[in-house]
Amino acid sequence: MTMAANIARRLIGSRSNQILGTVNSSSGAATSVARAFCSSTTPITATLFPGDGIGPEIAESVKKVFTTAGVPIDWEEHYVGTEIDPRTQSFLTWESLESVRRNKVGLKGPMATPIGKGHRSLNLTLRKELNLYANVRPCYSLPGYKTRYDDVNLITIRENTEGEYSGLEHQVVRGVVESLKIITRQASLRVAEYAFHYAKTHGRERVSAIHKANIMQKTDGLFLKCCREVAEKYPEITYEEVVIDNCCMMLVKNPALFDVLVMPNLYGDIISDLCAGLVGGLGLTPSCNIGEDGVALAEAVHGSAPDIAGKNLANPTALLLSGVMMLRHLKLNEQAEQIHSAIINTIAEGKYRTADLGGSSTTTDFTKAICDHL
């Protein structure tokens, strides 16, 4: 069955190349778009960081599902090194970062930052070197996996570079510490632009900016001003502003009130984790970091779970769904939809579920069930 399916897919693939070949030659648009159209025959290279702990197992799972679905991606695998690379001041090598810069797209598993001094955290390195300015997390209730909330369908977009996480702290005198929160017009405009662009391209109707400008008047006030400026350019999208304490309360009482949320760094961190909790936890949440020049690094936000590493018990859903986000970014919508439905159906059926969802399947069983659903 699989061989015939593969042959059929290749036939259809080459036909679409003929149809779309004209678009390829005439457009002067970004090369990444053109590359997506001719992706059916020439595979796209993407960087893969399997990560630590359960990372390698779930990365295997992703590779298997993608191959079965016929996704034309060649994976370039990179691992976290064992010594500090002086060029990056962290355990990530310069080659890994160059690879992402070159391929413009990547998938990252959970990485455990080693404790110690003299190096930057791995996530911080990736963020700063690749200039990843927006973190996008879609949160929707998975049909068939019952939580207390059934009607969640929202996206959180979080500014990822500045705000409270600038890391600028100092001790003024003994016992008095100051921490700086920085908001700039440039970064706020950038993330607001991305949020509205995302809302438009994904057919979303409302964008809510979350803030605490009644207390932090200048900083969050600047963020809001930038959001308002961008909102004027998208009159078809409703724009509203919600104070963060109101937002928290409304989210736990009635999450259906929200659609797309855009916020500065700290609030984004808290709200996106809160939303993940509403739908079932970090084990099911996809996430994608967007950088300048169209770089997209999808990642699984859960931890590396060293206690179940290597035991074939891990839940690959988060990494798989992040992979789906990556495919959508590459405009491989058909395969993305296929894989997405397969995952949803497998979980909805309930026969194959990993331990954290209340079942007893192994990682390989779960992966096989998804492949069967494709």
Binding site: K212, T219, M249, V252, L274, G277
Partner: protein, 367 residues
């Protein structure tokens, strides 16, 4: 013989039902003269404030509680709290207030924050618990959030470095962190609470939240019978939504406390029913517990559908603070009975009643 056992069984069933929540505070022995009426400053505030404070006034009168209110008109657009109000609070030491609306993004600093800083009300307390009879998605919630009220992100120190770049200072001091930690553990000790959780983000803000955690750990050592643990704020919000029964007392710096209190209030029934207050070394100001929606929307004001339960329960806390425990118990029992019966509920709890109907029901249920 059988008839007697039948009535006994009926009484047993009724008391086990919980609808007759019979408690008697028999152990409070007053000093002669404790019954003299106490003055309490009352600030109705903006929006739904006047509605709900009026509700409290009515109920206090119906109970013949030994307090009388000194009312002052304050609105959120004022740039400072009027000096006569501050004097009255300093004299009476206790204040009850409705919400004051802070203009968003404008040049006026929040009057709520000003009041807390001037009177040094360093601890803000919100008690979030499931009310019997009120259906929510989460059960077994009984969380007290104790939030540092004077510094942290609310220091109000912001400036524009160059056009387009703004800085805001978050200040954490050992002095303030220590006293809020001490208050939290003292509260847990005096109220028979078993666990105190510190909420922080010290993996990112290593010095600032690190200092807060250090202070909490030091105080924790002096209370060995109380369990102490720490949790990062994003994980905390996720756990609150998934498994809120694991939390008991939570101590947090200023901003996280705001978020955590509102999230906890939301899961336990909404900010319309959670009591709370602010307390300092010399003064106490009681208001609706969680800050979201305490001014309310215009529609609620016009239709008189504001929920007075939060402020009524906060005034019960106030009565206990003033050492009138019997009145506090009567008020709480009446309010809980009204909620559990379910006939009189305002819109945020899923009903259709007006504020006045709820107040009348509470007064009717007073023993």
């Amino acid at each position: 013989m059988s008839r007697r056992s039948l009535t006994l069984l009926k009484n047993l069933a009724r008391s086990a039902n919980g609808s007759a929540i019979q408690t008697r505070s028999v152990t409070y022995m007053p000093r002669p003269g404790d019954g003299a009426p106490r003055a309490v400053t009352l600030i109705p505030g903006d929006g739904i404030g006047p509605l709900v404070t009026n509700a409290v006034e009515q109920v206090m009168e119906a109970m013949h509680a030994p307090i009388y209110f000194e009312k002052y008109d304050v609105h959120g657009e004022m740039s400072r709290m009027p000096p006569e109000v501050m004097e009255s609070i300093r004299k009476n030491k206790v204040c009850l207030k409705g919400g004051l609306k802070t203009p968003v993004g404008g040049g006026v600093s929040s009057l709520n924050v000003q009041l807390r800083k001037e009177l040094d009300l360093f601890a803000s307390l919100v008690n979030c618990f499931n009310l019997p009879g009120l259906p929510t998605r989460h059960e077994n919630v009984d969380i007290v959030v104790i939030r540092e009220n004077t510094e942290g992100e609310y220091a109000g120190l912001e400036h524009e470095v160059v056009p387009g770049v703004v800085e805001s200072l978050k200040v954490i001091t050992k002095f303030c962190s220590e006293r809020i930690a001490k208050y939290a553990f003292e509260y847990a000790y005096l109220n028979n609470r078993k666990k105190v959780t510190a909420v922080h983000k010290a993996n990112i803000m290593k010095l600032a939240d690190g200092l807060f955690l250090e202070s909490c750990r030091e105080v924790a050592k002096k209370y060995p019978s109380i369990t102490y643990n720490e949790i990062i704020v994003d994980n905390c919000c996720m756990q609150l939504v998934a498994k809120p029964e694991q939390f008991d007392v939570m101590v947090t710096p200023n901003l996280y406390g705001n978020l955590v209190a509102n999230t906890a209030a939301g899961i336990a029934g909404g900010t319309g029913v959670m009591p709370g207050g602010n307390v300092g070394a010399d003064h106490a100001v009681f208001e609706q517990g969680a800050s979201a929606g305490n001014v309310g929307k215009d529609k609620i004001v016009r239709e008189n559908k504001a929920n007075p339960v939060a402020l009524l329960l906060s005034s019960a806390m106030m009565l206990r603070h003033l050492q009138f425990p019997s009145f506090a118990d009567r008020l709480e029992t009446a309010v809980k009975r009204v909620i559990s019966e379910g006939k009189c509920r305002t819109k945020d709890l899923g009903g259709q009643s007006t504020t006045q109907e709820v107040v009348d029901a509470v007064i009717a249920n007073l023993e």
